[in-house]
């Protein structure tokens, strides 16, 4: 139980550190809204990665303030409103840079683990 809690905490910290990269990658594929992003990250990681719901929106708004993504409201036929985010040109560049950093980091960690 204790080991499990430690592992969850560790993966939570890792997830927080890579949140921007994951969000940019998902939004880069197609415009998405917040709830959809939560479900997608969970689905595509087969349940391993789960965003804390409340922390997603500050992260999205921060990325928007930085000019990496752009939000626009859309009204569904049932009257419900959703805010879809799409990647900006600057966001594309940021995604490529973050993905490069992540791959180098993961490769370096793997090299050490393999010994």
């Amino acid at each position: 139980m204790w080991g499990m809690a430690r592992r969850e905490k560790y993966s939570g910290e890792l997830l927080k550190g890579s949140m921007d990269c994951l969000l940019l990658a998902l939004i880069g594929r197609e415009p998405m809204y917040g709830y959809q992003l939560i479900r997608e990250v969970e689905r595509q990681s087969r349940g391993y990665l789960q965003f804390k719901e409340g922390t997603l929106y500050p992260a999205l708004h921060r990325l928007e303030q930085d000019g990496f993504i752009q939000g626009r409201w859309e009204r569904l036929p049932n009257g419900q409103e959703r805010r879809y985010y799409s990647l900006t040109e600057e966001g594309e560049k940021a995604l490529q840079a973050k993905a490069r950093t992540w791959k180098s980091f993961a490769a370096a960690v793997n090299m050490v683990l393999r010994g």
């Binding site: 709830y35 804390k52 719901e53 929106y57 992260a59 921060r62």
Partner: protein, 330 residues
Amino acid sequence: MSLELDRFLQHLRASLHLDAADAEPVLREINAHLEDRVADLQAQGFDRASAERLAIERFGDVRQVAREMCEAHQRPTWREALLAACPHGLVVLFFALGLSRNFPLLALAFAAITVVTFLFWRRGRPQWIYPWAGYSLFPLLVVLRLAVREVPNGFDSWLDAETSLQTGAETVALAVLFPLSWWAVVRVILEAARRDWLLASLMMLPMAVLSGWLLLLAPYGGYLWASPEDVAQFDPLMARMMLAVAVVVAVFFRFGARLLRFALLCGVALVSLAIINPIAEPGTGPAGLALRAVVLLGLLASPALLLLLLDGGPGSLWPPRGQSSGRAPA
């Protein structure tokens, strides 16, 4: 929208410390998220009430969300930070050039600051306007100080039939202006605090530091009554002090964490006290110094305290913790 979701969003709104124009889309978006989550949970078999409670619980601590959202939105640029430091820079100039008793120039400067404050207070109230608003209160504080000193003497002389008609009229004017000025000062502080008590504390910072200056001038009869030479001897010290305030205000705007920002304000006020107090009152013991420090910190915390006192309960500062969890369907 149900009462539970509505209450959650109200708590979030109260904690956001954003302009209505920024807060509304945030609340709309989070409401849409919660409605989506509730619909999903209902599809899994939860009843509406349980689904709402669970959705709120999964969303997380409202205070943390609000804090992170504020940090995402309230990241002023260096340009805005410099705008916030501008009125302090102006005061530095007055001290550095030995103009601290030049009443016509001071009146002009305060009039300009008040006009800028009035214009931008009405146009979305950007964060950098709060230090300007602090200085706009100074003329009112001068009226309060004058009234406290002059009105009792004026009425005494009046009763003794020693006063001229003009002095009598001035006494009555001050007596009328006294409650009006108090009302205006409290109203501005409260309005600022309702937007964000931290920005209201920032607004109070020059008062906290300049109160030390008044302490220096007290043995000479006080600022308004001391000779220009007596006032001028402290100008170089105050110029350096206010320069430090200007730098701290600019840095304040670039910090993210709210507690760190408040600590920064308290720090500069306490340092100013530590520098001024030994000069103004060398005989003050540790207990007296500690008491002064408490009063100073109380002044900076007064917007938050006022909010608690008038708007009632800790909910006016922070939303209550803890949302009950949902029940699994049978």
